[in-house]
């Protein structure tokens, strides 16, 4: 069982993923999903070595899987800002409807 993914590790993966995804057709990329996972894992291990962290292959693989599984997830933020934003959206939608 791999350790829970640390925030720093996620950020690293995000950066790596973005760098790998540039100019690549997502369909092609998804059809070579296993290769993508392997490349991300290797990059993550390399990045961890540079920063002096120790990361096993299993931990890196688990971190990659977790990241890729949740990469496209969306969750509306909470808090005061979001409430104000929803109020604004409501007003704008109302205005548009009443026009």
């Amino acid at each position: 069982m791999a350790n829970p993914l640390k925030l720093e590790e996620v950020k690293r993966i995000l950066d790596l993923a973005c760098s790998l995804r540039d100019d690549v057709d997502p369909v092609e990329e998804e059809l070579e999903h296993d290769e993508l996972c392997l490349r991300l894992r290797d990059r993550l291990i390399a990045a961890a070595q540079i920063t002096g962290d120790s990361l096993t292959e299993d931990q890196a693989a688990a971190a990659v899987d977790q990241y890729l599984d949740h990469m496209h997830e969306f969750r509306e933020p909470g808090g005061v800002s979001a409430t104000i934003a929803r109020g604004y959206v409501w007003l704008m939608t109302l205005g548009k409807t009443s026009q």
């Binding site: 998804e30 059809l31 999903h33 969306f74 969750r75 509306e76 979001a82 934003a85 959206v89």
Partner: protein
């Protein structure tokens, strides 16, 4: 050391035969006991009549004896009719048994013939494999096909996974007011138009929900799985084309080595074998029906006996046995006491015989059920080709213990079959039995040569994977 399928088959046949013999023995015993009861009943009636004449000569009119005569005649007629029907059924039974024996022989012959064709096919298969392995084009193409097959399988899995992911994650985007608002405003596109203040507010919301990433993911989830599915379909079509090319090559080699003809012979002999197995199963069912009819006709509830025995019982009741017994007690004559003792003895013997008949009936029913269960197992065995030459069973299969457990009622036919099937192993050969799964997939008879050659080139496991995949595709 493996156990040959033919050995297991023989053990099952012997067990089925044993059950049949036991069933027949129980039925014979029943018949003997019933005949004994008939004799005892007649004796009892005669003794009863003698007792009545001894004690109540005036009460026993001639018509009572006349009545007894009529009743007995009716009983005898019923027995004669029953015997007639029994003879007819016994004849049918003999015919059915002879037919079954004949069919079993035919089945054994067709199995032998099938095994010969399979052996011939294997030889041709090896020849075809040798030719294919020496063909560089085939070696290259088959290796590529294997690789593509595996990739396609992974692609299909990924498409399904992504579809599931999209189904799970898209509702969050669709239910988000903030995200939907920005979409509605066409925020981020060239069509987006808004006043300065609105622009500022919209930008603020976009930052709040990380709109650039969200819209990218939204579009990804909406479009990519669908596009992937189309791409995989296209790749599959390409794969089918390359497979067709391989098959052409395989056809050529199949004709060259005579494999095609050999495979057709195997296929035809297999069909014949299965046809005989079906006819055999039907004949066994017919025999079971005849035996059930035989049992029914001899039972007290049988159509001929029911009426006659009812009349006989009525007549006995009219003699008022208890009254006669009481009178016999009162008199000093030893004759009537002896007659009463004889009647009582008859009653006891009849009672005992009835109890024995009940046990025999139970035994016969149990043996018949076991026999039919064994016939079912044998049918499964034949249908699965487990009696073929290439069929072997794990050494851990203790067939005698399994049969004994079934015999003792500790297991049912399904568990007996599961115990046998679970230990079945096939020799590595290319008979239709061994390659049943792949053979069912491959559309023409020489397809196994291709798979065999592929297996030799790229490893057995990979070929098994191809077989499984092709089956899934179909």
């Amino acid at each position: 050391m493996d156990t040959a399928g033919s050995f297991i088959y023989t053990r099952l046949l012997v067990a089925e035969n044993d059950f049949r013999t036991q069933c027949e023995d129980a039925a014979d015993m029943q018949r003997t006991l019933k005949e004994g009861i008939e004799q005892l009943t007649l004796k009892r009636a005669e003794t009863l009549l003698a007792l009545a004449q001894e004690l109540l000569p005036e009460a026993i009119a001639d018509d009572t004896q006349l009545q007894l005569g009529e009743v007995l005649t009716e009983l005898m007629q019923a027995k004669a009719r029953c015997e007639e029907d029994r003879k007819d059924l016994l004849q049918q039974r003999e015919t059915a048994i002879a037919e079954i024996e004949n069919l079993k022989q035919r089945f054994a012959d067709s199995s032998r013939e099938h095994a010969e064709f399979v052996a011939d096919q294997q030889r041709k298969q090896q020849e075809a494999t040798r030719i294919l392995q020496n063909n560089p084009q085939f070696v290259q193409q088959s290796a590529a096909t294997l690789k593509t097959q595996k990739t396609l399988h992974n692609n299909e899995l990924r498409v399904e996974e992504l579809h599931r992911q999209a189904e799970a994650q898209l509702p969050a985007y669709r239910n988000s007011r903030l995200f939907q608002y920005l979409i509605m405003r066409r925020y981020g596109s060239s069509d987006y138009e808004a006043s300065f203040l609105t622009r500022r507010m919209d930008s603020w919301i976009a930052r709040l929900i990380d709109f650039p990433k969200a819209i990218r993911s939204f579009n990804f989830l909406r479009t990519v799985p669908v596009r992937m599915r189309e791409e995989v379909k296209k790749r599959k079509r390409d794969f089918d084309k390359s497979l067709a090319e391989l098959r052409k090559l395989e056809d050529q080699v199949g004709n060259q080595s005579g494999l095609r003809l050999a495979a057709q012979k195997v296929s035809a002999s297999e069909r014949r074998r299965l046809e005989v197995a079906e006819v055999l199963a039907a004949a066994e069912t017919r025999l079971n029906e005849i035996e059930a009819q035989l049992e029914a006709i001899e039972s007290p509830q049988g159509k001929h006996f029911a009426k006659a025995t009812a009349a006989f019982s009525e007549w006995l009741a009219s003699l008022k046995v208890s009254v006669l017994e009481d009178l016999a007690d009162e008199t000093e004559s030893a004759v009537d006491d002896r007659l009463v003792a004889e009647i009582q003895l008859c009653d006891e013997q009849v009672q005992q015989a009835r109890e024995d008949i009940r046990k025999c009936e139970e035994r016969a029913r149990d043996r018949r059920e076991k026999m039919m269960g064994m016939q079912w197992v044998l049918g499964q065995f034949r249908a699965k080709h487990y009696d073929a030459d290439n069929s072997v069973f794990d050494a851990s299969l203790d067939i005698d213990t399994l049969i004994q457990r079934f015999d003792d009622g500790k297991s049912i036919k399904e568990s007996l079959w599961a115990g046998i099937e679970g230990r079945q192993r096939e020799k590595q050969s290319w008979s239709s039995g061994a390659m049943g799964k792949v053979g069912a997939v491959a559309s023409h008879p020489t397809s196994q040569a291709l798979l065999f050659a592929v297996a030799n080139i790229a490893g057995q496991a990979a070929a098994a994977a191809i077989g499984q995949r092709m089956m899934g595709k179909k």
